[in-house]
């Protein structure tokens, strides 16, 4: 699994790439929080549990990132590690995940607040990369 932040004029794009939708979702979350802090400075001390459903993988990705952004702001926490399971369920898809992070502190190298995940440039797809099939999960986030 890998993650990256890609260019957008006003905001930023976040992308996760992995062997499964679950891994791609983990990557997209890491990319999002890498905009907020240097993740090496964030110890995974506190654990949060997330359960979500949506009719499509795309909507599930937006809900997943928004839930993390929202939990981060509510609890003054930056997340730095994720364990995600995305499965097909009746009426769409279900996500069950653990997110680990730590309370915001002066020891962290903080960056920018991410306001929300958007539907812009949104996709969750299987793509061929160097003869290998990979799942990509991406969208623009409002910074």
């Amino acid at each position: 699994m890998r993650f990256e932040v890609y260019s957008h004029t006003a905001d930023a794009g976040v992308r996760g790439v992995g062997a499964s939708p679950s891994e791609a979702f983990e990557g997209a979350a890491l990319a999002t929080f890498s905009l907020m802090a240097d993740l090496e400075s964030v110890e995974p001390r506190l654990k949060f549990h997330v359960e979500l459903s949506a009719e499509s993988l795309e909507l599930l990705l937006v809900k997943w990132l928004n839930e993390l952004i929202s939990l981060s702001s509510l609890n003054s926490v930056i997340f730095s590690r994720f364990d995600v399971s995305v499965e097909e369920a009746s009426g769409g898809f279900h996500l069950s995940a653990e997110a680990w992070g730590d309370k915001i502190s002066p020891n962290m190298e903080l960056r920018e607040e991410v306001k929300a995940a958007t539907f812009a440039d949104l996709k969750v797809e299987k793509e061929k990369e160097k003869e290998k099939e990979q799942w990509v999960a991406q969208c623009i986030v409002d910074v």
């Binding site: 932040v5 890609y6 260019s7 957008h8 004029t9 006003a10 905001d11 930023a12 907020m36 802090a37 009719e55 795309e58 909507l59 937006v62 809900k63 928004n66 952004i69 929202s70 702001s73 509510l74 003054s76 915001i104 903080l110 960056r111 920018e112 607040e113 306001k115 929300a116 995940a117 958007t118 539907f119 812009a120 440039d121 949104l122 623009i140 409002d142 910074v143």
Partner: protein, 481 residues
């Protein structure tokens, strides 16, 4: 290619005519200049064209000279929809930072008064105004928060943090009707409980500036501004409340849109009819965020007045710290406008566009009504800002709307590669501008060269006559979020 469809109408106006792209209901219009048009982003043009296809749109889909690639609408985009003609409401036309806006506070100090104390003043502001990721403002219990959601800046004044006369100089008196906290999620309320009076991060700031040039002495006088005067500009929005309301409703509207049979060319333009249950709920929740943003800027004004008081050993009244004006640039508002000779109540979406009402509008306080609304344009870090005034031409052509700032031309990631926060701060200090920031990488993203030249943007608006220049402001010190 949308950009090749642009036709020049006049020196400052270009248009993509109806019929250029399937489904366009109105033309897409671009206010700009030859210079700025050379850098116009293809994707911003496409976004303005996408907006032109939305149900109930009236007259034009409009993009300002600072328009750039956003999500849904271009940033610097305006569109008005008629609720009586199946007009829609969309989160993609307002944004997540609802009622992000600018306010300008006067002082009776001049640059010479402030220079010797500038460093200690900026320290006092940096210490006194909560800013940066995770910063906290006033802690409110849920019943206090409920009051702020309904009363906006009035609550701040009622509780002794602001002046009664401030309210006259806030758009809508700092409190909009039709806000319904019961349509706001528990999560949004919980997140906002410690946010009132905080700047946030990103491109938000508080800046101490000096009036460098006066272009329109009569309007400047009406706004209480004169050459050499020190002023304070605040740029921030509705914080976590606005963000969460945007998230909650975009997720709710996505499935609802299908039921209403609305087709959009971009997923982020997810829309529902304004008069649908979902549309009404979102509008009433969004109005809560409008109130929160005005309350937030009023509360920050309290902290700024305290910091000035501390630095100058004098009370804010004696320092003449009167509110010039406060106006939003990420809003969805019901306003009367002329459409084909008829006065119609329209839902005007302004995404990165400042409301700029021309003279005569009853929304303006009597002291500004003959002049036109003060239009506050924040420049990028280290560059000039401007005060303009709304015009009758702006009312006719752009639903009384203008630019909101310089507009980015370089992405945040690219800016971070090209600039270092530490270096920028040193360079600005050499030019006599003191910067206090919470994040070096955040400062690098806001490098002045990452933005279009605000003077070009403002000139284009002035030449187009949709708002005209009143004064230019030069920065002395900035607190960055």
């Amino acid at each position: 290619m949308a950009i090749s469809m642009l036709k020049k109408i006049s020196d400052n106006l270009w248009e993509v005519p109806v019929g250029s792209v399937e489904g366009m209901r109105v033309p897409a219009r671009f206010y700009s200049s030859e210079t700025l048009m050379r850098d116009l982003d293809e994707r911003a043009v496409e976004q303005a064209v996408n907006v032109a296809t939305l149900p109930g749109i009236k007259k034009y889909s409009i993009a300002m000279p600072d328009a750039h690639w956003g999500y849904g609408f271009p940033i610097g985009g305006i569109a008005a929809f008629d609720p009586q003609d199946n007009g829609i409401i969309t989160v993609g036309g307002i944004g997540f930072d609802v009622n992000c806006g600018v306010r300008l506070i006067a002082t009776n100090l001049n640059e010479e008064d402030i220079r010797p104390k500038l460093r200690s003043l900026m320290d006092a502001l940096f210490e006194g105004v909560p800013a940066g990721l995770g910063s906290e403002g006033l802690h409110l219990n849920q019943s206090q928060l409920q009051e702020v959601m309904l009363e906006g800046a009035r609550w701040v004044v009622r509780n002794g943090y602001g002046w009664e006369r401030d309210l006259r100089h806030i758009e809508d008196g700092g409190m909009i009707e039709g806000a319904d906290p019961s349509n706001v999620s528990k999560r949004a309320k919980e997140r906002e409980a410690n946010q009132l009076g905080s700047l946030g991060s990103g491109n938000h700031y508080l800046e101490v500036q000096v009036v460098e040039e006066v272009y329109d002495p009569a309007a400047a006088k009406a706004f209480g501004l004169e050459k050499g005067q020190v002023v304070i500009m605040i740029h921030t929005g509705s914080r976590a409340m606005g963000h969460q309301i945007g998230m909650d409703y975009i997720e709710e509207m996505a499935p609802a849109m299908k039921r209403y049979g609305i087709q959009v060319r971009d997923k982020e333009l997810v829309s529902v009819p304004f008069n649908s249950p979902e549309g009404k709920r979102y509008f009433s929740a969004m109005n809560v965020a409008m109130n929160i943003a005005w309350a937030n800027r009023e509360m920050i004004t309290y902290y700024a007045r305290q910091a000035f008081s501390k630095a100058f050993g004098s009370d804010p009244e004696s320092l003449g710290m009167e509110l010039v004006y406060d106006v939003g640039h990420n809003t969805g508002k019901l306003e009367y406008h002329d459409v084909e000779g008829q006065k119609k109540l329209l839902l005007v979406h302004r995404k990165g566009s400042t409301r700029a009402l021309g003279p005569g509008r009853e929304e303006l306080p009597p002291e500004y009504r003959d002049v036109g609304q003060p239009v506050l344009i924040g420049g990028s870090m280290g560059t000039s800002s401007y005060v303009l005034k709304g015009t009758l031409k702006g009312l006719q052509e752009t639903f009384g709307s203008a630019v909101h700032g310089a507009g980015r031309k370089m992405s945040r990631t690219q800016a971070k590669k090209e600039y270092r926060g530490e270096q920028l701060v040193k360079e600005l200090e050499r030019r006599g501008i003191i910067v206090r920031g919470h994040s070096w990488s955040g400062l690098a993203e806001e490098a002045p060269d990452a933005y279009k030249d605000v003077s070009d943007v403002v000139s284009a608006v002035h030449q187009a006559g949709i708002s005209t220049m009143v004064v230019k402001l030069r920065p002395l010190g900035t607190v960055k979020g």
